[in-house]
């Protein structure tokens, strides 16, 4: 039984915080209180020519106002439509979907890259253990101050704008960062690198994956990833990112 619901939610705030990156708060009764770090919501376009929901990770929840924070990048017409929403506008939303991160270990190494960074904020907020946070950006940074509240935060930028010049792994090696559990979300090449790093350093790693989705609830089988063991749905090696994921242990999946 899932706790997901579909309803029309009110936009509380929707602001551009970096080039192409928007910060939205949604009123989300029946969603915010159940949402776990690492879960996502499906956002639906108001324009009927754009049928499919856009899966957006939950960046933060506010239990007192029952609202959700979604940080998203404008990558196409759907997200462009979202970027034009104003406070008071309504948007169809389904969630919370998928499985979130599992809390474990005593020294967390939280690693985010680009638009994979947002879901790690709620995680950093809720984890009570010792936390080291590494954030990688192409050039412009975002959310860094939000993360600094929850742990020692290191930044890497590809152009050397801020922090280590290079990627998250360069920052990890430079500062000799470690932990007993890795939580990571970011582009596929970054996750492949982190999986390798985690194996070498013998650190358990939870990775949050993404793929093009349709239904978001495990029925259409669009968003599968290759898994080491057979999956519970089809008994092949295809885990559903929306249902069994989006968070997987590094050793479970073939990236």
């Amino acid at each position: 039984m899932t706790l997901a619901v579909k309803r029309t939610n009110k936009v509380l705030k929707n602001e551009k915080i970096a080039e192409g990156i928007y910060d939205m708060w949604l009123e989300a009764k029946d969603m915010a209180s159940f949402a776990k770090p690492g879960q996502f919501v499906s956002l639906y376009c108001n324009d009927g020519s754009r049928l499919l929901p856009r899966p957006i990770s939950i960046c933060e929840t506010d239990q007192s106002t029952e609202s959700l924070r979604l940080l998203y990048r404008v990558v196409g017409k759907g997200t462009e439509e979202f970027s034009k929403l104003r406070p008071g506008d309504m948007i169809d939303c389904m969630g919370p979907l998928g499985n979130g991160f599992t809390f474990e270990g005593t020294r967390a190494l939280i690693i985010g890259g680009g638009i994979g960074i947002p879901p790690l904020l709620e995680l950093a907020k809720r984890l009570s253990c010792e936390k080291t946070i590494v954030l990688g950006f192409r050039d412009e940074t975002f959310l860094v101050k939000d993360f600094e509240k929850y742990g020692s935060t290191y930044v890497a930028t590809e152009n050397g704008n801020l922090g280590t010049k290079g990627n998250v792994l360069d920052a990890i090696r430079k500062h000799r960062l470690t932990g007993d559990i890795i939580y990571a979300c970011g582009p596929a090449p970054m996750l492949r690198g982190i999986k390798e790093f985690a194996m070498e350093s013998k650190i358990k790693a939870q990775l949050s994956l993404e793929e093009r989705m349709a239904c978001g609830i495990g029925a259409c089988l669009a968003c599968v990833c290759k898994s080491v063991k057979t999956d519970p749905h089809t008994n092949v090696n295809n885990k559903r990112i929306c249902k069994e994921g989006p968070v997987f242990y590094a050793e479970e999946v073939i990236l």
Binding site: K6, L51, L52, E211, M213, A214, G218, L221, A222, T234
Partner: protein, 305 residues
């Protein structure tokens, strides 16, 4: 007029369905994922995702892409195979008070027949033979584009089936009427149409195909006028009942298919946009009948000629 005075029941091959709304194969799994959102017992029937003899892993990702008013999919019929279906999915489906239509797929004629034979002693209501999937290299559409092959496979599968048989037709043909007649001549108890239209999307920034499979099946409201036209043409060509589908989003869309000649309709892509779409289609049909003072849905089947 009260709702209780309205008859939504329809009949195909001697089987009564409580209403004319089912699910389009592949958009509803075996119902499990949707049971959190809708009461499956309200469906006229639940049509399952295609079931093959062995588990099929499907195609590489990306498997879906959005297009204007529609979507392309190239899932490739990923499914757990008949053993898991019978052991896991069927008992789940039997816990609901709805008719069960099992969609059958295969790479060869023998494989279709083997799955059909396995299902013959199962407690299911009808079988739908998918000879129209555009996303697999073997089987699927290969059987569905030539009327001679449509008739031949229908005859062959019919020999193994103790259940009434629906043949699911492809729209990727020159003359849908010929294929409908071929299925009827082969002994089909009903036909369903349309499956998806073969399409393609190119990412101009990356200068690459969006789908890993290059092509995919187009579905959604964008294809509805084609689907309605084809259901009409098929209805003019054959006597057997038709299950119509293609872009149905609401009750009025469903009624177009019924007026064109469909006895039942299937809701597909709409489930991805609104998990309660099937219920809204049933309610929409009922509201239309009430509004127009029509007592029996059967009065509307093929009423536009």
């Amino acid at each position: 007029m009260k709702n209780a005075d309205i008859n939504l029941k329809v009949n195909i091959a001697g089987i009564t369905f409580q209403n004319p709304v089912t699910t389009a194969s592949g958009t509803f799994g075996s119902g499990m994922e949707y049971s959190d959102f809708v009461d499956l017992s309200r469906l006229g029937a639940l049509t399952t995702k295609g079931v093959s003899l062995d588990p099929w892993p499907g195609n590489p990702t990306p498997r879906v892409a959005e297009t204007y008013g529609g979507m392309l999919n190239a899932i490739g019929l990923q499914n757990p195979g008949i053993d898991v279906f019978i052991k896991r999915d069927l008992p789940f489906l039997k816990s609901y008070n709805t008719r069960i239509i099992v969609n059958v797929v295969g790479k060869t004629e023998e494989e279709y027949c083997a799955v059909v034979e396995r299902l013959s002693d199962c407690d299911v209501d009808m079988l739908e033979v998918n000879i129209s999937c555009p996303n697999v290299k073997e089987g699927g559409i290969a059987f569905g584009q030539d009327p001679k092959r449509v008739e031949a496979i229908t005859k062959q599968v019919k020999k193994y089936s103790k259940k009434p048989l629906i043949i699911k037709l492809s729209p990727n043909v020159t003359d849908i009427g010929e294929n409908a007649k071929a299925a009827e001549a082969g002994g089909a108890d009903a036909i369903s149409l349309i499956n998806t239209l073969t399409g393609m999307k190119i990412d101009v920034e990356r200068r690459a195909f969006v789908l890993a499979n290059k092509t995919g099946g187009l579905s959604g409201p964008a294809i509805k006028p084609i689907a309605v036209r084809m259901v009409y043409q098929a209805a003019c060509a054959v006597q057997i009942p038709i299950i119509g589908m293609g872009g149905i989003m609401n009750g009025e869309d469903a009624l177009e298919f019924i007026m064109a000649g469909a006895t039942m309709v299937a809701v597909g892509t709409a489930n991805f946009i609104n998990p309660k779409a099937t219920m809204e289609v049933i309610d929409g049909i009922e509201a239309y009948l009430k509004r127009n003072n029509i007592k029996d849905i059967n009065e509307l089947i093929g009423c536009v000629r």
